[in-house]
């Protein structure tokens, strides 16, 4: 694979919330710890994790729209330069775009066309949107509709259109296909694939490994607020080529591999075990797993497990 330019590099990202409990003073809730993801030009990286693991917070951290009571740690590099809050505010909506989960993220009282144009009425914005709609086979009349009038089929294309109003180099799609059938999922995913093929980096956030494997180039496996493995999609062809016990467990739970789910649930942030967060559910657990686990390279991918080789 030839060296492509890195667009986004997230190093040891952490997001925590300050909470004030009655009588106990302040406690910090570390929802994300040691998250590492890299996205190259023209590449589609899927972040796969179960619900509540902090995936949306990752997206919000990159866009600079975290809630006020949160504290952001670690480093985010965009185009090799630190992505400060000021830079996030300059770039979001133009170079860095978010495709939200559903039309619930659209203003219910604003018509689609003006809303995608952010209220701009100049002829250039109008022409641009008309072209985008043509490209996605959306009728121009759709611009005159309110979000609640959209049909399920239009929803996705409208949401993707919002991203195209800028000049996206980094697209963050947060669970873009909830509750859709596979046929529809493929169609939506093809839009993102197209964007990646045109040179943008795409960060696909999903809880569905199967979907991720369909379209992504690389998969980052997310467990309890941490990336436990970063692997090429090819590595998911067989269990042996994967590195982390949790990734292997996800693999075994895929339909084609027999739906074998492991027991237990992801620990809640307040009750994290010492050392490896997967420890309590891991069959290879040993004493050393209670110490800090480094994120290291193994066979061309990355893994946060001491027994991987």
């Amino acid at each position: 694979m030839d060296e492509k330019k890195i667009i986004l590099e997230i190093q040891n990202l952490s997001v925590s919330f300050q909470q004030y409990d009655k009588g106990f003073g302040r406690t910090d809730l570390d929802v994300i710890r040691d998250l590492n993801v890299t996205i190259n030009e023209g590449e589609m990286v899927a972040v796969v994790g179960s619900s509540g693991s902090g995936k949306s917070l990752l997206a919000h951290a990159v866009l600079g729209i975290l809630p006020y009571n949160s504290v952001l740690g670690g480093t985010i590099l965009y185009d090799g330069e630190e992505l400060t809050q000021k830079r996030k505010e300059e770039l979001r909506g133009n170079e860095i775009v978010l495709v939200p989960q559903s039309v619930a993220f659209l203003d219910p009282l604003m018509k689609i066309g003006p809303q995608i144009r952010k209220g701009k009425n100049d002829s250039e914005s109008k022409r641009k949107l008309d072209r985008i709609f043509e490209g996605y086979h959306l009728k121009q009349e759709v611009q005159e509709l309110y979000p609640f009038e959209l049909s399920g089929g239009m929803n996705r294309r409208v949401l993707v259109s919002t991203a195209m109003m800028g000049n996206p180099r980094l697209v963050i799609a947060d669970e873009p296909t909830p509750g859709l059938h596979m046929k529809m999922v493929r169609r939506v995913m093809s839009h993102f694939r197209e964007l990646a093929d045109q040179g943008a980096g795409v960060l696909l956030i999903t809880h569905d490994l199967e979907q991720a494997l369909e379209v992504a180039d690389r998969v980052a496996v997310f467990y309890a607020g941490t990336t436990v493995e970063d692997a090429d999609v090819k590595d998911f062809a067989r269990e042996e080529t994967l590195r982390h016990p949790y990734s292997k467990a996800l693999w075994r739970a895929l339909p084609q591999n027999g739906f074998q789910f492991i027991s237990g649930t992801q620990p809640y942030v307040k009750e994290l075990p010492k050392g490896c967060p997967f420890g309590p559910r891991c069959e290879y657990f040993c004493e050393a797993c209670e110490r800090e686990i480094p994120y290291r390279e193994v066979r061309g991918g990355k893994v946060r497990c001491i027994s991987a080789e």
Partner: protein
């Protein structure tokens, strides 16, 4: 169309029921009043010098001794035929008295209603957009203080400052004392309405401000504003595209619903400023046992308040596209 007709019929029935209940309640409250209308309106001394016959006549005039239910039914049947009866105190038709008093009050009510609505909306929207900043804290603090200040106290403070110390505005009444009606100018009327209107506005503002602020905070925390931020919108753009659009509907509803509060407040404020409006007439009628006038005012006020709430409900159907186009409302 059929839907709308059904809606209007339903509302008309509701209004009838409301007015019937309100008039019955008002009637029995005055008939339970311990005040003897003859003592109150004619005076002990005058009564003492009258013959039995004269007193019996007066008793009949003021309805003393007649069964309450009978009097009420007599009043109600006249009312349905469009006759609101004669005011016992003013000795003129109730409809005429109300028309004159209402013409005075409407200035006050309209000014207070518009000012409290406009200022309350702006302050509330600003505070909600800037939640947590000193601007928000100042506006919220001010509103809370005013909300817990009695209107009469505020009225007295304003009287002291503007009428007594600064002598900038008249102490009371709706027109200059001793002036011919024809000589009263528009400016005179405005000058006399300023203080009572100001009192009503200031008390009305805090309610509207606090409600608008709450709504605006909800909007700022919504997913669609989060997404708008993610798309690079901020400050004014967010207000113009999303904040205003979403807050104006609940604000308008609140504005029409607040007619009742302005009306209620006007009773007290008109009394304090000796402003000869509907509110003061209501107090006079109540104390003087002028039952026809009191009932007339009560029914008219209830109808206006009901009308305000009805408009508030209908606005939702007209302004909100989800209801207008979906046909789910009305």
């Amino acid at each position: 169309m059929k839907q709308h007709l059904l809606f209007l019929t339903k509302q008309a029935v509701r209004m009838m029921l409301l007015l019937i209940c309100v008039s019955i309640a008002a009637f029995f409250l005055v008939s339970l009043s311990p005040v003897d209308p003859l003592q109150a309106n004619i005076g002990q001394a005058a009564l003492g010098s009258m013959s039995q016959e004269q007193i019996a006549k007066l008793n009949e005039y003021w309805g003393v001794g007649q069964p309450a239910a009978e009097r009420f039914l007599a009043w109600a049947s006249d009312f349905f035929r469009g006759d609101m009866g004669l005011s016992l105190l003013y000795r003129r038709p109730v409809s005429e008295v109300i028309a004159v008093k209402f013409a005075n009050s409407i200035w006050l009510l309209a000014i207070a209603w518009v000012i409290s609505g406009a200022v309350g909306f702006c302050l509330g929207a600003l505070a909600g957009m800037k939640q947590g900043t000193w601007v928000d804290k100042a506006i919220k603090g001010y509103s809370l203080v005013i909300a817990s200040t009695p209107a009469f106290w505020l009225a007295l403070v304003l009287l002291m400052v503007f009428a007594v110390w600064l002598k900038a505005l008249p102490v009371g009444l709706s027109v200059p004392i001793g002036m011919e009606a024809a000589g009263v100018t528009f400016a005179d009327r405005i000058r006399h309405a300023i203080l009572p209107a100001l009192t009503l506005s200031i008390t009305g503002i805090s309610n509207i401000t606090l409600h608008t602020r709450e709504k605006m905070i909800d909007i700022m925390e919504s997913d669609y504003v989060l997404f708008a931020r993610a798309r690079g919108e901020s400050g004014w753009s967010i207000f113009k595209n999303h904040g205003f659009r979403n807050v104006i509907l609940p604000a308008l509803t609140l504005q029409f619903a607040s007619i009742s509060e302005i009306f209620g407040g006007s009773v007290l404020v008109e009394e304090i400023f000796s402003y000869p409006g509907l509110g003061q007439a209501a107090v006079t009628a109540g104390i003087g046992s002028d039952v026809p006038l009191l009932l007339g005012i009560t029914v008219i006020s209830a109808a206006i308040v009901f009308g305000g709430n009805l408009i508030a409900n209908m606005l939702y159907g007209i302004v909100d596209p989800r209801i207008r186009k979906g046909g789910a409302g009305l």
